[in-house]
Each structure stands twice: as C-alpha cells, then as structure tokens.
C-alpha cells in the first residue's frame, strides 16, 4: 500500500513498511548516514541521519514511514546537528585522510563533504588506540573505528553463525575486537566484503591498498549521494 508523506514541504508517495531514509532516497532526497545499509536491519548508532519527523528530531533509519508524516531534512537546525555529529566523529578518533588507504572510498569522509565540514569544533582527542594485525588477511586500524556496529551485526561465520567482530568495553573505552580463528576462515571475497562494509578505514584487507589513483576512486567516480539515491546497497 502507498500513501503520501511530506518531505521538505514536498508531498511524496511512499510504500507502507518502508524506512524513512529509503523512502526519502527513492524520492530524490539524500539523508546523510553512516551506519545504515539498505536492506539490512537498522543499527541506529551513528545518528548522522537525524531529521525532523513531525517536529521531533529522529534518526531517519529507525522510523518506518507513517501516513501524513511531516519530515524536514534540509532545515538548518537539524542539518547543523548532522554536521556536528560528523565533526564529533572526526575529533573522537584519529583521522588523517591523506595517508588513509580508504580515502576516496570512505563513507565518513564522503559524508563530511556532504555536510560541508571543514574543521571540527570539538577538541581533537588524539586517543591512543592499539592496532590489531593478528588475523592473516585483516588488519584493524582502530584509530578510525566509529563504532557503527556494521561488522558486529552483519558479518558472521558461515558455518557456525558466530560473530567474528565484537565491541569490548563501553563508552569511551569501547574497542573493536576480532576473532582471529574465525577471521582466518573467511574467503578472500568475504574478507573483501567485510572491508567494504566498514564505512571507514578500520577493517582493511592485508596486501591491498591504494589500488585506484585519485580521480578514479569509488566516490570520485560516483558520489555517495548519487549511489544512495540510486539505491545502491554499499
């Protein structure tokens, strides 16, 4: 069943059961996001998709559309909030894009361009985070983890269904961990998929890097916004 909702003063037709963030994309409205993956269960961790729904700020990936919903996406106050959240993520970890192998393919970086971030107003924390390189084919560059939980929730050992990634500790002490034994069982394709799933340059494939020159990288060729609006899933 379809019904209409209002997004940025425009009436649009949406399907019942659809998540707001998808409904918006299908109607040409891009909502920045970092933890959501179309077609997968919502994680609701980054909050970068915050919009105003019937006046209340809400994460767009967490709400199913309802008839008559009034949504503001590009209203200045809520746009400012999205930008602040992206900025907070930069100051919280250690991000040095020019030397990062994910640059040009990184969703955090792409979203930062989308929200027109320049420098973070939050003090940079320069946290000390240990690297993890024990797995044969995966490298965890924890400096860049944004705790989106994609790897925790969406990557599983095929045979046992067990979690390969997990977050240990809580709050500011949270840390991404990997089960080395299970990680070593992953096929090269699965390793590649895990690295692709990570929105940032935290989960990296060993032995590959900087494959595409600047100008031909994933988001150089086609922006994150366009990919989202065309319904690409990653």
């Amino acid at each position: 069943m379809s019904f209409t909702i209002t997004i940025d003063k425009r009436k649009v037709l949406v399907d019942e059961g659809c998540t707001l963030i998808d409904a918006a994309a299908d109607n040409g409205v891009f909502i920045p996001n970092l933890c959501y993956t179309r077609g997968k269960p919502c994680l609701g961790t980054c909050r970068v998709c915050s919009v105003r729904v019937n006046g209340k700020v809400t994460a767009a990936c967490t709400v199913p559309v309802q008839p008559g919903m009034v949504v503001d996406v590009n209203e200045p106050e809520v746009a400012e909030m999205r930008k602040l959240l992206v900025e907070a993520l930069f100051s919280e970890g250690n991000h040095n894009c020019p030397s990062c192998e994910k640059s040009g393919r990184c969703e955090l970086q792409a979203v930062a361009y989308e929200v027109e971030m320049t420098a973070s107003p939050f003090p940079y924390r320069f946290p000390k985070r240990e690297r993890e390189d024990a797995a044969d084919h995966i490298f965890l560059e924890r400096d860049r983890c944004i705790f989106c939980q994609r790897c925790v929730e969406h990557v599983r050992d095929e045979e046992t269904g067990q979690a390969i990634f997990a977050i240990h500790g809580r709050g500011t002490k949270a840390r991404i961990e990997i089960d080395v034994g299970l990680a070593n069982k992953l096929t090269p394709e699965q390793v590649h998929a895990a690295a692709e799933l990570c929105p940032v340059g935290c989960i990296l494939e060993k032995g590959v890097g900087f494959e595409d020159p600047m100008g031909s990288r994933k988001f150089d060729v086609k922006s994150l916004r366009r990919r989202m609006l065309e319904g690409e899933t990653s």
Binding site: C42, L43, G44, T45, C46, R47, V48, S50, V57, A59, T62, V63, P64, M81, L84, L85, A88, L89, S91, E92, P121, F122, P123, R125, I146, F147, Q149, D157, T160, G161, Q162, A163, I164, F165, A166, I167, H168, G169, R170, G171, T172, K173, A174, E177, I178, D179, L182
Partner: protein, 605 residues
C-alpha cells in the same frame, strides 16, 4: 586450560541448559567461584554456548563488576557520589588506602584487599558507604573503616560484620541489619502492614483481565520509573499485542544516583511488588516474571527469593495459582553494574545475556521485548502501588494527589537536611513543604530526579509543585546548602554519564566527554562566553539526537545549573586581555611536549 575452571564451566553450562540468554547468570557463577572470569573461562563458555570468544567477552567487558583478571579476596567498592563527597568521602577514601595497603585499582600486594570506585549504591541517606563482598557498610568514618578492615584481616567475613546477630539471610532482619531502610514517613499507600496476601491474590485471579485493567486505568497511575507512562495503558497494549509468550519484568535496577526507595520497598513491601507482578501477569497473560535486581543489592537476593518461595508455598505463585489455571513464576536476574541497564530495553538485553545496549525504538517492549515477545516493564514502586489500587480501587487512588497526578509517591531525600530518608508524599506538595518536612531550612539548591533530572534554585522554585505537569520527580531529591560548590556537583554528574554511557551512539559517547572537558575548563577559569554557548549547542545536540534517555538527559546537570545559576559560570569566565587564547593551558601544553619527546625517544631505542 585450568582443570578447575573447566569443571566449573561445565557445571554452570549444565545448570543453565547451555542457554546463552542466561549468560549473565553463568558469568556471575564463574566470578563468584573464582573471583574473576578468566580467558579460559570465557573460552570454555564460548565453546559450550556455540558463541565466538569475543562475543562472550563483549558481555563480560561491558559490566563494571565483572573482572577478567584476578584482583583481591575482598574487593571494596567505595561509592563516589556528590553526597558522599559532602560527608567525608575524602577522609574515608584515605583511611581505606591506609588501612588496606591497597589503592584504587591496585590490590595490597598480598591480594587480600583491592579498592575500586562505584557510582551510587543506593545509600545516599547514609553516606559515605561502601560495598564489600555481598554487603554494604554505611555512615563510614575513618575510624569505622579501620575497624572493619582490621576485622576482615582477622578472618571475619564482611557478612558477619554487617550482620552481627547472625540473622538468616532470608529474613528481613538480615536485610535491615545490612542496609537500614529509613522510612521516615509512610503515607496511606505504601508499607501497609497486615495485608492478607492469599485473599488479595484470590481477588486478582477471580477477576477478568479487563476488570483489572479498568481499575488500573481508573486510578490514572503513571509509571514511577521516570518516564511516567500510564500503567493501565501499558498493560492493555501488552495484553493486545500478539505473542506466543508474554513477560512481566520488575525494574529494580535503581541506578539513578540519589534514589533508594526501591530498596526500601523491596525490603518492607516485597510482597506488594510480587502482588503487582501477579496482577500484571494475569492481565497480560504472562507465565514468567523477572525481577531485574542491581548487583549492588545482592544482600536482598536471598530475602527476595525467600519471599517468592513463601508465595509459592501458599500456592500464590507457580502453576495453577489458587486453582485458577493461572501459571506464573518469577525469577531474579542480577545485574552487574551498569546504570544504563535501568533503561527498559537495555535491561531486556541484559536479561538475554547481552551487553546493556538500549535498543532502537520502535519496536517497544510491549510489542517486541524479552526474547522478542510482548513485555511489560514496570518500576518496583509502580507494581507496589498497583497492588493497592487493585485492592482499594482506582477512585480511592485518584482521591489523593492532584487532578492530573493521582496518588502518592516515594521520595528518597539526601544531602543537606536534618532528616534524610524515605518519605511518601501526595502529588501536589510544594518544594517548600518538602524542605520543611526534612529539615532543610538552609537549602539553596535541590537536584531532583538525580543527575538526569534538574537542579532547582530554592529562592525561585520554592513554591513549585511536585506533579507530572511541573516537577515530575522520579523520587530522588538531593539537597544542597550555600556552602556547596554547584559547578563541582554538575561536573561530577557529567562524569557519571561519561562513565555510564554504553557508547553505542555518537552524541552521547562523544558529546559527554566534550561537556566534561569544557566544564573542567570553566572550573579552571579558562573559559569564555563562547564556551557557555557551546554548552547550549552541544547539550541540545545530545538531547535531541541521542538514542536513549541516558544521552538525552546527560547534558542536564550543566544545562540546568547554567540556567538556574548563571552567575556561577559567569564568575568563572576569563576576560583577560592576554594575547593567548583563554583556553590555552601553558602547563598542559608543556607537559604534552615533554611526553611527546619521551615517547619519541622511547620509540627510537
């Protein structure tokens, strides 16, 4: 692999049917037998539960009380709260270090004593207080600390010290001996003696669920856990929701600093709580109830189990309750030290053996709760009140309180007053009346509803009323006189939220730290007007975009003190006409340089 651990884990797995949703219980069993949960134990649990090792460790490392390395025979947790700090915390802390030879986070060398901090342990009316093994000691002074430590050294157990008359653990005398419930005013609803429980249960099961809901609806009772959701509506929605099973959970996490009324109810009105749960179970059609009890209240566990057992023995719990066909069992789920687990969805995750991460809503617990089934979660006090409403009627309840806020509620009052303790008040009472009642003539500021609530200014807010449309207090009230440093208090509360943030969402995980850094800057006299504006902007960001109530309320300590006592902040602002930024900290910058040099030099060799 340690043979003993292997056997222990095998036993524990067996006891819980290798059911991974009971991981919290299994972890407690291991920790209580071994003092910690070793890598080996985690690996053995993972094997037995068909989980990966990091997945099991994800739960272990989330909770404050779970330890992955051996620490000490007696781990002493000293409650670090603003109230304790007003009542000699520093001296007690120093005495603990001196008496035990241990330090915070470091044991004494022999492994007999280890010290650690804990947030509020539910004894704000008698602080400083500490948790030792399964019991607590309150009203601490340096002398008392030395005495307790000396006794422990001589081989006495903490329990023997806290319970010198050797009462049975299942008796209320035991609980009272360990942690006194200072009920200074019990009104017309709570803590009533001589109730005929078999008759009351009979009157519940003989009525239809509709009749019960009608009574609860008629009382207009709203949940006492903080959000104030109408209890009747919650029960109705859970009743109407589709589900093969339904669950009733009593939220006894009582983690909000300054609250201790649920502890008193569980001690002196435990059967009322059970009765309320039975009513809810009958109403929604549930066969299983859970009391989620914070680990800080371990000394209540045996007593509560005894109360449940007593009900069972009389046929008031179990299968076919009083021949009515209703089956209902209640189990106790112990928490393990996490304030966020008071959030009903985090609590459910914890009951399922996971980290206490608040869920994305919708769906709500009444649709998709424990094990994915419709679940009613209510506060301890809500169940206790419902037990009376069902007995005496909704109209009896609405006759008390105000038009919009019916009935009574318990206040846990602490801080600068002559008579800290628990008071039952009718909604509609003014702040002024409350302050007079507790002997707080010198009060200047009052924090209501704990750190997540707001700071009131007595000279402005004196005649405001406690009711849902004005001061909808969750029960905690901390009183401060003019000698207290409110900026320090706001800082302490802010730090509490930083420590307790689950860390899953950006605004709370990150924003809390930024607020804390900034208030430190204010306190150090290095802030400018822009910093105060940032408080408002960043605070709003957290309030609006956080995933759960922890993050949405975490800015309150700063925002409400800034709102009510702006002069305290303004007096700290730096208006020096120096060429350097006010925020520039010369000492810090120099030490950063030194440590950078140190690091580089060390890496070179």
């Amino acid at each position: 692999m340690d043979r003993f651990v292997e056997r222990l884990v095998a036993e524990v797995l067996d006891r819980f049917g290798s059911d991974r949703t009971r991981l919290m219980d299994m972890l407690w069993e291991v920790q209580r037998a071994r003092g910690h949960i070793s890598e080996d134990a985690i690996a053995a649990l993972a094997r037995g539960l068909d989980m990966s090792v990091p997945d099991v460790a994800e739960t272990v490392t989330f909770y404050h009380f779970f330890r992955t390395a051996p620490f000490a025979q007696h781990v002493i947790y000293l409650a670090d709260t603003v109230i304790a700090r007003m009542n000699g915390y520093d001296e007690v802390r120093a005495a603990l270090i001196a008496a035990t030879g241990a330090d915070f986070g470091v044991h004494d060398g022999t492994g007999q004593f280890g010290l650690d901090n804990a947030p509020c342990i539910g004894l704000s009316d008698q602080e400083p207080a500490m948790l030792v093994d399964d019991v607590v000691f309150s009203g601490l002074t340096p002398e008392k600390v030395h005495e307790i430590v000396a006794q422990l050294r001589s081989g006495k157990s903490a329990e023997e010290l806290a319970n010198p008359n050797a009462y049975e653990k299942t008796s209320v005398h035991y609980v009272d001996a360990v942690a006194e419930a200072k009920i200074l005013k019990s009104g017309p609803v709570m803590f009533q003696e001589g109730r005929d429980y078999p008759a009351l249960v009979r009157s519940i099961v003989e009525r239809t669920p509709e009749e019960i809901i009608r009574e609860v609806d008629a009382s207009d009772i709203r949940g006492r856990g903080g959000a104030g959701f109408p209890a009747g509506l919650k029960w109705r929605l859970a009743r109407e929701a589709e589900g093969a099973e339904k669950y009733v959970i009593c939220n006894a996490d009582e983690g909000e600093p300054g609250t201790f009324k649920d502890r008193a109810l569980l001690t002196h009105a435990a059967k009322d709580v059970l009765l309320g749960m039975i009513a809810a179970a009958h109403t929604v059609g549930s066969r299983t109830g859970i009391i989620y009890l914070r680990a800080e209240y371990w000394y209540l566990k045996a007593f509560l189990e005894g109360q449940i057992e007593a009900f069972r023995a009389e046929g008031l719990l179990g299968s076919d309750i009083l021949g009515s066909g209703l089956d209902f069992e209640i189990r106790i789920q112990m928490g393990a030290g996490a304030y966020v687990c008071g959030d009903e969805t985090a609590l459910i995750e914890s009951c399922e053996g996971k980290r206490g991460t608040p869920r994305v809503k919708p769906p709500f617990p009444i649709q998709h709760g424990y094990l994915g089934m419709p679940t009613v979660v209510n506060n301890v006090e809500t169940f206790a009140l419902c037990s009376q409403i069902i007995d005496k009627g909704g109209a009896w309840f609405t006759a008390m309180g105000t038009e919009q806020s019916s009935g009574t509620r318990l206040l846990s009052i602490s801080g600068d007053c002559e008579r800290p303790g628990i008071y039952e008040i009718e909604w509609g009472i003014t702040l002024d009346e409350v302050l007079k009642m507790v002997g707080a003539e010198t009060a200047v500021a009052v924090q209501i509803s704990g750190p997540s609530g707001e700071m009131l200014r007595v000279d402005q807010d004196r005649f405001r009323k406690f009711c849902y449309s004005d001061l909808s207090c969750n029960g905690s009230l901390m009183v401060f006189n003019g000698s207290r440093d409110l900026l320090d208090i706001a800082r302490h509360f802010t730090e509490f939220f930083v420590n307790e943030s689950c860390g899953i969402c950006t605004p709370c995980r990150s924003g809390g730290v930024d607020l804390l850094t900034k208030i430190d800057r204010v306190i150090a006299g290095r802030a400018v007007q822009q910093d105060l504006d940032d408080f408002r902007l960043w605070g709003k960001l957290m309030m609006r975009t956080s995933r759960c109530g922890l993050g949405t309320t975490a800015p309150n300590p700063i925002l409400t003190t800034l709102d009510k006592f702006p002069e305290l902040y303004e007096a700290k602002l730096n208006d020096a006409k120096s060429a350097l930024l006010a925020s520039f900290d010369m000492e810090d910058a120099m030490s950063a340089f030194d440590s950078a040099v140190d690091n580089l030099v060390r890496e070179d060799v």
